[in-house]
Amino acid sequence: MSANGSDGTADRPADLAAEGECPKQAGSLPPAVESLRKRKGDVEERSGTHGQQSVDFQMDDDLSRSEGEDQQVKMKCFREPHRQIEKRRRDKMNTLIDELAAMIPASGTGSAFTDTTSKPSILSQDDLKHLLLRAVDGFLLVVSCDRAKILFISESVSKILNLNRVAGVQVQVDAPARLPLLSTGARRSFFCRLKHSRVAGKQEDKHFLPCTSKKKDTSRYCTLHCTGYMRSCPSSQLDSEGDGEMEGSDRSCLVTVCRLLSPVSHQPPKELSIRPSEFVTRWAIDGKATTVIGYLPQEVLGTSCYEYFHQDDLLHLADKHRQVLRSKEKIETHCYKFKTKYGSYVSLQSQWFSFTNPWTKEVEFIVSSNQVVLGSGHTKDEEAGNSKALQEDTKQIPIIPGLSSGVGTMIYAGSIGTQIANELMDSYSKMNSSPSSGACSPFGLAQEKCPRVSPLTSTSASSREEASGSSSQSQCDSRTAEGASSAASESSAAVSRIALNPIQGEPSQLDLDLVPGLSSFSSDEAAMAVIMSLLETDVNMGESGDFEGLHWPF
């Protein structure tokens, strides 16, 4: 493994050897290493050795049989005598050592070489601290439990909250409301929001989660994830303000690392997003829709979107509906008309894709991103056409192939969606023997080469990217989604491999190889660990949890 590193730079020594020269030792070393060599008293011997080397080599030449002793080491012949292999290895090592020696600052300049005051470490404490600050958007916080007084806060808080550390920090902790006395060593993890001040030009507010609309502009909150533990601290370390509370008893304090939560790209897309489900075409729709179609979300929930499609578009939309249920791709519709609350039609164009559950691989719902098509010049025609459409609704019934029209002269639009959906369900039940049970999925994973979810996640992410305009966050999102999705596709091929080669030598009794990570626990341990931890409560917590109601199947 690490030999690869040295092999990587093997070309040079190989070339050197090819020239038939021994790598030069003397002149290229910094004094420190040079002195080391001299101290050994080996210099003479070493050059002597090299001389010997060449002598040996020549002698070996004489002794060796024909084979055409090719000095060019690039020809790696299996019958190459061992001596030459050895020599090559030596030369390689020597050259590498020289290179490294040249890089290491000579001792005496003393830059971060060895820290004589404390235990030696690769990085100085200062460097490590700076590294940590770069990696973590966070700070260290120590709060006393009884009065929620901040005992210590690290300087990185100034970067995170734009507050001057010396001046003091106003802490408004949302959760938990109070910090009760808790046993030492107990691990704590919670989220809280801290006030921060806006500094002109530096932090953008969109980095932080939105808070309730009642907040004034001047003070905004940022959300932090705090993890840490309780420890007791002797009261002498607490700020002595002469409160009269210095009773000498140990107080508890909470030591936490607070990390800023990574900003979420929740920028709403410019268009509306509707989510019909496949079984009964009902909607879950986001707020933007109201401005476009006039209906409040609650007014359309439960209805079929086919009821709003213009009659002329029913055919093509039904076709797209069928397509999207069977395809992993995003399906784009053509422009179509959508009936608004006021009776007029608005032109929309949508992108649909069906969302499949990663585990069951079944379609759960369809996500529709809809965009208003402006300037399509429909206005005049539309008005004329609208009145016609309303009249002709009952007369012309579009024949949609594949769907029974036996409902009568009036096809209820809603049934179109349901029928298409049912077609899919039928095909599912034909394909799978046990459709929606979770048990078949691990094997399903192994058999399928490409789980359907993979292109979906990437395409949805990329559409969102287009929608919300370019922002670095959405790019990040799509990348991570891609990473996850391509991991999925890779893993499906590899899952079977894992099953055959579990990381542990002993076969696990449970079939947990398909969910790697669990084979490291016996199932007893895993289950008990989780249960015991969930049942951990502290005495003074007040709401100790109504665990009698816990419905564990144990």
Partner: protein, 376 residues
Amino acid sequence: MTANKEKKRVISRDAARRRRRVESEVFVDLSRLLPLQQSVQDHLDKPSVIRLTISYIRMHALLKGKTGTKAEASHAVKCGQVMKSGEEWRECDRGRDDEGKKTDDVEPSEETNMFLRTLEGFLMVLSIEGDMIYLSDNVGIHMGLTQTELMGHNIFEFTHPCDHEEIRNNLRLTGEEVWCGAKRDFVVRIKSAPTHRGRSCNLKSATWKVLHCQGRAKVCVAPASVSCLMLTCQPLPLSHTLLSTHTFTSQHSMDMRFTYCDQRMTLLLGYSTEELLGRSIYDLCHTLDTNCLTKNHLNLCLKSQSVSGQYRMLVRGGGYVWVESHSAVIPSVRPSKSRPGAHQPLCILCVTYVLSGVEEPSMQLSLDQTVHRYVR
């Protein structure tokens, strides 16, 4: 003739011995130069000495290195984030240090140690090629393998093959994002070899551990250095101590349908347990967060543990709250010893933290919210 040959062979052998001795001595010298404890130095083999030396040099080049030309720097300023060179970092923070000294007297080393200990994780600097250039020395506690055993090796040797693609994607840097934060947040499975007694053993008995890596990327244009990721890595715990107010647990089948949730869910979100049984979590959340949930679900299926990031859960009666879920896959029933080979049903356990109040309470986005208007 034969005697001659024999003599030559002896000479050759002695020369070889001498060379090996000299070589070993050189390596010992090099290992003494490394800033490690003597006991550690004594036990390093030759490839390890070189590996650690290379890491040392790369790290220091990284910390000292400039991060780009002037043009790049000005571009960075426009994006609102300035990547400073190593020198500037230190000067900047030193200034603040002087102010701070008046109010507290915590040594930087103490603070860093406390930080890492409280975080329950270790620091890792990962080069673009995947070499673990640096690991903080508490890595041994979490991974079972010490800093000197791991540093300089490539991460792909230690992680699950199915996660390699994801790692590669995270190692890739685009030009735009580099100057604007370049955050990273992902979950990988990594080999770890701790024993019950905390001592490390060899890699043959290693198991997989799920590691949550968060941090940012840094571009370095100095010659001896490479661009890298600076990450904190935390093994995901299987247990969460629950605080009373804003957290609830739920149990799901593998397709993320609810099989149980605790009463706090009712308090926080308004749904009763009966309403949720059999419902999919995807029905309960904002459409735009489907992506986030899918990734979480996939992580669970593949890696058995996951942290979701923030997403929105719809509240009964209207509006939504921001939440973050920490989940794990566990066996759903106690295995019976009498049927050892039986296929074990699994379920998902989620601990969900509610991060915000109810936003846009009047907006009903889903059918689930409308039925039986919830009255607080």
